[in-house]
Structure formats: C-alpha cells, structure tokens
C-alpha cells in the first residue's frame, strides 16, 4: 500500500480499524483536527481525490492509492489558496480549531453551493464566531485594517496567529509527536452513587502494552478542588484524584496507561470493580430535604457549609424591608424560573501531555489557567514549584470549561509513576459526561412595583445544582446573586441562595458564570411587571436601573470595590430601542400561523472577577528592535493577544506587528491568575499598559542620558528614537543599552481592583409558528458598553459568538439524563449546538461611547457578558408573540407547541 498525502508518498500502514484522521495525524499532518470523532463537526475535513470528506469516518485503508489533501497541502508554491486569504482578510476564526476543516469545506464549494450556505456548511461546527465572520470570508468581505504606527488602539487588526491558523500550522495542545508516549484512558463510573468495595486489576495488567493500572489505592489521598482560582479557599476541597466513592455517572474510577490507545481501552474493559450501590439524589430540593443521602460526609477541611444537608454554600441577604415593599406595591409578579443544563462545547476537547525532563515535570495542556494548574500539581504531588512547568500552546476554545483541572492531575501522576511521557485526550462523550456544565438553577422570584412603575421590592430564592462536586458552585452562586439584582435600584431586596450537591455531573465555570440563570429570572419577571403596568419595557428599565450616582446593591449594603468606572447603560438602552423601532425590513413568513413578538433584556457585569485576580507583564526591547511581551494569560480565541499588542504598541507609538507575545508558559511568564472572568483585557491588559508606559519612560530616559540631551528633546517613533533631529534605530538603541549595562526591560503587575461594570442590552423581534412551535429570529440588536473598544472587529465577533451561543442554549441545546443519572445525548448529533443554518440572523451591534476610569486605555471587558440578556430577551419576545410566559429557559419547538396547545385548551374550557 502507499498513501499520497499533499503530494508526498508515505509507506506507513494503518491499523485495520483505524480512521483516516488519526492515520494522517500519526504521519505528522496535525492540521487535521478532532472535534467530535463522529462525523458531526467537520474539523477533520480533508479531500480524498479532491472530494471533501470527514476523515474521522473514512477507514484509513480505503485511502490507499488515493490522493489526500489536508489544510497543509492547500497552499500551492508558497501561495495561500484564495479561501485561506479570504479567511485572513475577514478574520473568519476565533480559537481557530474548526478553521482547517471549515476552509477545506469552503474551498471545495461551487458557486451554486455558496448560494446555499445553510446546506453547504451544515457539516461544519464553529462554537466561537456565530458564523458571521466565516460567512464574510466565504463572500470575500475584507474586515481587517492596516496596522499603522501609533494608531493601533481602536483599529480592526488581525490576530497574530492568523496565518498559522489558516494554513494549519498553528499548534494546539496535542499537535505534537513525542517518542515513547504512553496513552491514558479512564474507566468511568456506570453508577450515580456507589462505594468501590473490590478491585481486580490482573486481567487489565496482563494485556500486552499496558504499563499501569491506577485506582484510588494508588494515588495521594489528598483532597483538592478541580476549580482554578487564585484563592483556592473559595472552592471546596471535596475531590480526590481517584476516589473509593463515585458520586456521578462518569466519575473517574481507574486510569490505565499503555503503549497504545487500543491497549489502554482494552485495559479499562478488563478491570473488574465490585460496587456497593448507594442511594442517589438528582434534584437539589430533594437533596436538601431530611433523609436525603449525604453525598460528602466531610469535615471543615473541605469548606462545605452544611455537608449533612448537601449544602455547599448558602447566602442570605437583606436590605430595606421587603415585606413593607410588597405592601407598597400596586402590582406584584411571582414566578419560579428554571434554567437547564448546557455545555461549553468548545471544539478542542480537554487534553494534556506530561513528561519528565531531567526530573522536571512538564505539562502541555489545554487550559485557561496554566499558572494555577501548576500550583495545584505542586500541592498534589508534593513538588517544588521550580520543578514543574505548565504551558499551553494555542487552546481550541474554553468558555470557562478549561478553568478546571480535569486531565493534568491524572496525566502527571502517570508520568511520575512510570517516568514516561503520557497523553490523555478526552473524547467528545467524555466532554459531556465528565467535564463540567452550566449550573442548573431554580429561581423563585417575587417583584413588586408602584403604578408609576417604580420598583418597591425584589425577592429571590436561588437554588443551584452543583452536581457531585463543588468546584465553582460557591463562586457561581455569589455571581448569580450579584449584578442581576444590583442593576435595579430598589430600596427593599432579599436574596436567599443555596448551592446544593446532587449525584449529577459536576457543574463548573461557563460563560455567564451563574448569572445567565438569575438574569433569565429577573429579566423575565421585570418584563412581566412592565406588561401588567402596560409600560414599555425600555421605559421601565430607564426608570428602575441604577444610575452613576446610585450605590450598586445586591443583597447587602456592605462596601465593595465595585464602582462605575464608566456608565453606558442609558446609551445601550437608547441604541437598542432606536434600532428596534427603526426595524430592519425583515418580514415574518407569510403563512397565517406565524405570530410576531418583540422582547428585550438588560444586564450588568463586573468587569473583573470579585475574587483575587492578578497578572504580570514583562516587556522589553529586543535585539531585533521589536518589543517582547511575556504575559501569563492564555489565548483560546478570546483575542487578548491581539488586544495586548494593540495596547502596548499604542503606548509605544508603534505597530502591533512589532510586539511579539509569549504567553501561558510558567517558565517564561510571570504569575497570571488566568484567562477567565473577562480578565484578559482589563487585568492582563492593565499589566501590559503599565509595562509599556514604564518601558517608554525608560527608553526616553536612557536616550536622554546616553546621548546627553534633555528628556524633552527625545521622542519615540515606531521604529526609532529621535533626539533633536538624530534618529537612532531601535536595534541601535538596544545595542547602546546593552553596552551601557542598562537593559531596556520592565516588569509590571496589575490587580483586579477597583472593579468597573459593563452593560449589555439585547433586543429581539421573532416570528413563532403557533402550530409547529418553530422560532425564526427576524431582528437581533445588541447594545454593549465595553468602554473604549480596542479592536471593534474582534469585539463585534465576540458578541456575534455570544449571541449565537446564547441562542443555541435557549432554542436548541439541552443535556438530557435518564432516571439513573446517565446522560442520554452525549454527542453533537444529539446535543445540537448551532450550525450555520441555525445562526442566520445578523445581530446589529452598537457600542456605547464611554471611557473607563480603571481599564487600560479606557477599555472594559467584553466577551463573556454579551450572553447574559439573550435567553430572557428571547423568552420575552415569545411572551409578546403568544401571550404565554415561559418559565423554563429551554425553548425548543416541542416545548413551545405544548404550552401554546395547553393555553388554547384552557381558553377553550
């Protein structure tokens, strides 16, 4: 047999059951990606004799004697394919993990296929972009601006990784070949709650190639939390690397390392475990009730508030007098709002490779928090900090799912045990059953207002289902009970919140972090109040939202470090209302069964996480005359690398292309809490800004001293320093500084305090079919207050992506479980994230004109937050169209139909 890949002949032989995708990767064609390994996502698309196929579904032997083209073979004679150029010009990617498959598909389309993109692109999933920039690329739209010296702030500059992404050369976590690599596979629990009473490993160990089988008896008996926060005390220590009690279907039971994935899988199948089944509880209210099984019988060392009642954390707060407030109300709305379980669905699954290099542990991982992951590994394995290196290559999407140690600990353990390099790669199924999810919450709301619309009282009882482990359960509850309540000026507020353990898959950090749930409840309830008062919902918000002079109060009057560094909520409300009033001319489908409705919702978001967040920027002038920035935060499609370059080059009066960024490596960057909670632009960005300002001053001072001229006579241009009329190239300045023994290097640290707030307003006009329950989005308008927008193109793309993800969560996605706690739809085929055809609406995006007092160059955070108002704005539009209030956030056609049908029955009776 012989295989012809990108014009080169290979004599390797595939294994009989091997698919083309892994065969190509084994030959070094790492541009071929795995998103699902099941033919659903298209990330592995290659051409077979010029015809696009999903290489994960092609038996490798069938490619024998055929020509295979991967993304690496698309450029010819050093010239990018026109479609690769188009994806660069339109910045048609964010994390870039889907891009290779997207380009291989798009480049194969004929003109008539391009006219029907909903069909032509249905086999390619992108979780980041919302498809707008991809559509632009295919239609040849140019979005990217020129990189001009000193003008980078506010410019639509391209991400530095762009060319590597469109050519498939960029390296993600597992895109590397390592000699002697062992593969790790995890045996997972089939039971929701059980104690392991006996383990028999012999049959597994007897399999050829198996090098180790590890269970709870082998690992350090040390409690930790898989959540990664700077201050680990905010999360409960309730987790062992491997445990003798399993608390959800999918929990790790044993790890097998072997010379091949096949042997590791077979090893997992051969381990025999005897379980003693324990009673399980899945509903948080039941879990809090008397007689419920106790899930964590642990002491104060675990920091669980009431373990006997399965309560991880409770919050009780009260300002004013809600009783009196409700008495003063002319209208009161009460309702219980529930949010369903959804997933991040980043295309790159979790994975790590660990190895020893001269006794130092190296961890290459798909993480948003390399520095905290390092600390955790030091703690778990009793290692000195300087004997561990954790780093990320480009990360293929995160959305919070990678603010968690899910692979690194067990992988490192196996490396420390065997001395060998070890790789663990999650399957897509493992992402669903064993990574984390959104916290399903139930929010009992009571709100009251006077006839004139003024709020008199708000009362919330929030119950959050954290699942079997607490990881982010506490912090998400604080977030849930925070800004969603504080955005309204109301003298009387009462909040009770509970985070409860159940025998479900653990929830974790996810875009929105607890707040999408309460915002769904609060914004639905406010819509109801406005409706019963016959008030315009925009006017109702104008009347009741906090203004710059108001205190921001959720459930307590205690002082905080949150302040209005800028305020643009009023502008966002005006902008969205104006655009919705203007309309966009899109009419609802003609048939009589289509109803039409409008809805809106607002949100406020702390621009920095409330718990400790810090970042260190190291910046210097290099011998090449470029600026070298080392910063610990990770790039996973959030675009912070571009933003950091723009901030630095803006301060240094240079071009972004002169700023080289090294990031997310604990060996070469200073401590950074991580890329989460929107901290990339604000905290890490502030570190970068301060470092740039310090370096500018140092360069000017050095020039002044070195050339014996006044500081005022020196000025910095993009590639040189001028004193009087003499030009010194930056390369020469570097040499002079070295000669003088005064390196032009600085370090600055930034902390996430004080915290400003950002605002979002979303408006939707939808059509809903009263027979089928289908929804068509006719108009989508988003107003955002992100302060000064450093890269409008990128920021719009983040909003596009957030709207699509929010629409997906609301109209399509739902994790469904059977009575035994087993998920029944753990695949993209059955858990439907939006495809291009589902995301056809193009959101009109408007930015408030504000300048933040705390953020770098006036900027605030803006990539997580646009998701907040999506679900309630859709639900409010649905209510407007149908007259029915939807209390659950899952709005699929079958559920909508049911409510419409029930309502018509009730009217009939």
């Amino acid at each position: 047999m012989s295989y012809l890949v990108n014009g080169k002949t290979f004599s390797e032989e595939p294994r009989p059951g091997q698919c083309l995708r892994t065969f190509l990767r084994e030959m070094g064609w790492f541009g071929v990606k795995k998103g699902c390994d099941a033919g659903d996502c298209g990330a592995c698309t290659v051409w077979l004799d010029g015809v696009p196929v999903h290489s994960c579904l092609i038996p490798a032997f069938r490619a024998d004697s055929h020509q295979v083209t991967t993304i690496e073979g698309l450029a010819q004679n050093g010239e990018l394919h026109p479609m690769q150029q188009a994806f660069m010009q339109a910045a048609g990617f964010q994390c870039g993990f889907c891009t290779a498959g997207m380009i291989m598909t798009a480049a194969s389309l004929r003109e008539e296929d391009i006219k029907d993109l909903p069909r032509s692109l249905k086999g390619n999933l992108c979780r980041c972009t919302g498809y707008h920039s991809i559509e632009n690329a295919i239609h040849g739209v140019k979005s990217v601006e020129e990189d001009q010296p000193g003008k980078s702030c506010g410019a639509d500059l391209l991400a530095p990784a762009a060319e590597a992404i469109v050519t498939g050369k960029v390296r993600y976590t597992l895109d590397t070949a390592i000699d002697g690599l062992l593969h790790l596979k995890l045996l997972r629990s089939p039971h929701a709650h059980a104690r392991i009473v006996a383990i028999r490993k012999d049959a597994a160990l007897a399999i050829a190639g198996v090098r180790g089988v590890y269970t709870w008896e082998d690992v350090p008996r040390l409690l930790f939390t898989s959540a990664t926060h700077d201050d680990y005390h905010v999360d409960p220590n309730d987790t062992y690397i491997l445990d003798n009690v399993v608390r959800f279907v999918g929990q790790r039971v044993a790890a097998v390392v072997a010379e091949s994935e096949a042997a590791a899988e077979e090893g997992c199948r051969k381990i025999e475990i005897d379980y003693e089944l324990l009673p399980a509880v899945f509903d948080p209210e039941e879990a809090m009730s008397k007689g419920a099984p106790v899930i964590h019988d642990k002491g104060a060392e675990s920091r669980i508030r009431r373990p006997g009642q399965n309560i991880l954390l409770e919050i009780h707060g009260n300002v004013g007098d809600v009783e009196a407030g409700f008495k003063a109300a002319d209208v009161i709305h009460e309702g219980t709002y529930t949010t369903h379980r959804v997933q991040h669905a980043h295309l790159e699954t979790h994975g790590s490779i660990t190895w020893l290099d001269k006794d130092r542990l190296n961890v290459r991982t798909s993480s948003q928090t390399p520095h905290i992951t390092k600390q955790k590994l030091c703690y778990l394995f009793n290692l000195m900090p300087d004997s561990v290196r954790v780093f990320c290559e480009r990360v293929g999407g995160g959305f919070g799912g990678k603010q968690e140690v899910l692979t690194e600990d067990i992988c490192a353990f196996a490396t420390l045990k065997t001395g060998r390099p070890v790789m663990l790669e999650f399957t897509r199924e493992e992402e669903f059953i064993a990574a984390t999810t959104r916290h399903p919450m139930s929010v009992k709301m009571k709100v009251g207002a006077r006839r004139d619309g003024t709020l008199t009282a708000m009362e919330l009882r929030v119950v959050s289902n954290t699942g079997a482990y607490g990881n982010h359960g506490g912090e998400t509850l604080y977030a849930a009970c925070g800004e969603a309540v504080a955005v309204y000026r109301c003298p009387n507020k009462k909040v009770d919140g509970y985070t409860v353990y159940t025998n479900m898959v653990p929830a974790g950090a996810i875009r929105g972090y607890g707040m999408t749930q309460t915002i769904f409840a609060v914004e639905s309830a406010m819509d109801e109040l406005a409706r019963s008062l016959k008030m315009d919902p925009y006017e109702f918000r104008r009347l009741n939202v906090v203004k710059p002079d108001d205190p921001m109060i959720a459930e307590s009057n205690a002082a905080t470090d949150t302040e209005f560094g800028s305020y643009g909520l009023d502008q966002c409300i005006d902008l969205v209302q104006a655009a919705m009033t203007r309309g966009n001319g899109v009419k609802r489908p003609a048939a009589a069964d289509w109803l039409e409705g409008r809805g809106m919702a607002i949100s406020m978001h702390g621009a920095v996480p409330p718990t400790e967040h810090r970042s260190e920027a190291r910046l210097g002038l290099g011998a090449d005359g470029n600026y070298h920035l080392a910063i610990g935060t990770a790039e996973f499609g959030n675009g912070t690398t571009t933003v950091h370059r723009q901030i630095v080059s803006s301060v240094l009066n240079s071009t972004a292309s002169r700023v080289r960024v090294i990031q997310s490596d604990t060996d070469s960057t200073g401590y950074d809490t991580g890329a989460f909670a929107s901290a990339g632009t604000v905290v890490a960005g502030n570190a970068a800004r301060m470092a740039a300002e310090a370096l500018r001053d140092r360069m000017l001072n050095f020039a002044s001293k070195n050339y014996s001229v006044g500081r005022d006579a020196c000025r910095l241009e993009h590639d040189a320093i001028f004193y009087n009329d003499t030009r010194v190239a930056l390369t020469d300045l570097f040499a002079a500084s070295r000669k003088a023994g005064r390196p032009l290097e600085v370090v600055r640290k930034a902390y996430g305090t004080p915290r400003s707030v950002t605002f979002q307003v979303q408006g939707f006009r939808i059509a809903v079919n009263r027979i089928t329950g289908e929804i068509v989005i006719l108009q989508s308008v988003h107003g955002a207050d992100g302060g000064v927008i450093i890269n409008p193109m990128q920021c719009r793309a983040q909003i596009d992506g957030a709207v699509a993800q929010g629409v997906g969560w609301t109209l399509q996605e739902k994790m469904v479980f059977d009575d035994s706690g087993r998920m029944i739809n753990p695949s993209f085929r059955n858990y439907r994230i939006p495809a291009y055809a589902d995301a056809l609406e193009r959101t009109e995006i408007f930015f408030a004109d504000t300048h933040d007092a705390f953020g770098p160059l006036g900027a605030k955070s803006m990539s997580e937050a646009p998701i907040y108002p999506i679900a309630p704005a859709l639900a409010n539009a649905l209510t407007d169209a149908t007259g029915i209030r939807f209390h659950d956030s899952s709005l699929t056609p079958d559920r909508i139909y049911r409510r419409i049908f029930e309502s018509s029955q009730n009217k009939g009776a």
Binding site: G17, A38, G39, L57, P59, R269, T772, I824, T892, P893
Partner: protein, 274 residues
C-alpha cells in the same frame, strides 16, 4: 473514530457476497455510522467496497438501488421524465442530518440497515414501495418490503451474516404524484417527523408513509383519498405509539404527524394543473 478492536479487514466472495460469517463481524459499506461510535464488540469488518455492484439501474421495472450506492450518486440521478415521484428522492436525501460531505461516503443500504426512526432512505423507499433483496447467510436470497424490513428503533429482519443486496423501487410507484413534509427541532436538523404521501394517477390509490415520528415506518394505504376524519381515524388506530428521544417528544411528534398528514391529504386532493 478508530475502532481499536478491529483486527482484520476481510473481503467477501466477489461473486455472491458470501463469507464465513463469525461473531464480531460487521459489514462495512460507507462506514459513516460504524466509525462514528465505539464498537467494542466488533473484531472484523467485511469490506463491501470491492463488490462492484452497479449503484443505480434504471429499467422498465423501475429503479434498482444497490445497497452500496452512495447517497451522492442517488442525489445525482437523472430520472426518466415520467417518474413524477423523482423529486421525493432529493427531498429525502436532503433530510439527512449529515452534510453533503458524508453523502460522498454513506450508502443507501447502510441507512436502511441502521434502521433508525429518522433514516430518510427508509422514508423514501417505504413511500415508493421498495422491496429489499437480501442475500441470506446460508446462500439464496429473499425479498422483504422495506416497511417490513425495519421492525423497530435500530432493529430489522436481518440475521447475522445476511446481506442487503439492493432495494428495488417499482416503476408504478415512481410514476405517482408525491407530497413531502418534514420538521426538525433545529434548522436542517434530524427529522422529528417525516411524512410522504403518494397518489396513483391511474387508480387513485393514496398511500401515506409516516416515519421519524415513530419507531419504525408505517405506510397506510387507502383505495382513494380519504376525508380528514377518515385519515385521522386510521392514524389513531394504526399508530398507537410515537417515538420519544431528544429530537422531539411523543406528543409533539403525534401532533406534527397528524398535522402533516392532513396537509398532504389536502395537497394531493387538489387537481394537478394541466
């Protein structure tokens, strides 16, 4: 994905498709389903690729679709002018959840043998009165109507080692008027209900095929177009249970089935414009 328990790829007898069938064997046609899920019980794949079956054969009897015919080939079929039912082929092919890229590999026989409720090739071949030709494991062959071939969700009449050879669509069915309705919970997603009606222009016989909303396909035959109540009564009587999975609740599937059935009845009752 890699099927790591597969130790061997075997090829059947090129003449009659026979092989010494063993436990742990599976037929490999396109492989688009086999390779999409773990198959730890399998040890050997029997590759049908080399059998060289003519994908599509048009004759006076109708259309013979080889089990190994790729969806892409079926979509590209140029049908004789009097096959008024031909548009149904494209409509059903476009009802796949999967993309056109999968059509280059996936086969008609594979979809029928998967026997999933939402298999659009099942909907198509049931509606057009298809007959499965099955090569029996012990030699010989038998014929089974597609509606009887599929017996439940992921269940059919094939015994281990039996091989679906082809599906024959009779020319009489291909000359009927058709009407197609489908709904999915997401745009271009997996079918929640897929209904197809046919009306014989000669004798007025009406057939309604219900699929995706039920575990297995149902074809209801009426000597002539019924009235709305008559149609409802038959549906109530003959389809007692609707399918339940994440792609639609049973009550919604029932609702859409009844709604589409009436739409189809109504549309086919209109005279064709001359």
């Amino acid at each position: 994905m890699d099927l790591n328990t597969i130790g061997e790829i075997a090829r059947p007898n090129p003449v009659d498709g026979t092989i010494d069938w063993r436990e742990g064997d599976a037929w490999l046609a396109g492989g688009t389903w086999l390779f999409s899920e773990p198959q730890p019980h399998l040890r050997r794949l029997i590759d049908l690729h080399g059998l060289g079956w003519q994908p599509l054969t048009i004759s006076e009897q109708g259309l013979e679709i080889a089990a190994t015919c790729q969806i892409a080939k079926l979509v590209a079929l140029t049908a004789p002018a009097d096959w008024t039912a031909a548009p149904l082929i494209g409509e059903c092919c476009r009802s796949f959840l999967s993309s056109f890229k999968i059509w280059n590999t996936a086969t008609v026989g594979g979809n029928v043998c998967m026997s999933l409720p939402a298999g659009p090739m099942i909907s198509l071949t049931v509606a057009l009165e298809g007959i499965c030709r099955i090569l029996n494991r012990d030699g010989g062959e038998r014929r089974v109507a597609v509606e009887d071939f599929v017996t439940g969700n992921h269940k059919n009449v094939l015994q281990p080692g039996d091989l679906l050879r082809s599906i024959d669509l009779p020319a009489s069915a291909l000359r009927k008027r058709t009407c197609f309705r489908r709904i999915s919970l997401t745009h271009l997603g997996r079918s929640t209900a897929l209904l197809a009606g046919t009306l014989d222009p000669q004798d007025g016989v009406f057939m309604l095929t219900v699929s995706a909303s039920t575990e297995r396909p149902h074809r209801l035959k009426f000597p002539k177009l019924p009235d709305a109540d008559g149609l409802r009564a038959r549906l109530e009587r003959e389809i007692p249970k609707f399918f339940d999975d994440v792609h639609g609740t049973p009550e919604y599937r029932k609702h859409m089935t009844f709604y589409f059935a009436e739409e189809i009845r109504h549309e086919l009752s209109n005279k064709v414009q001359p």
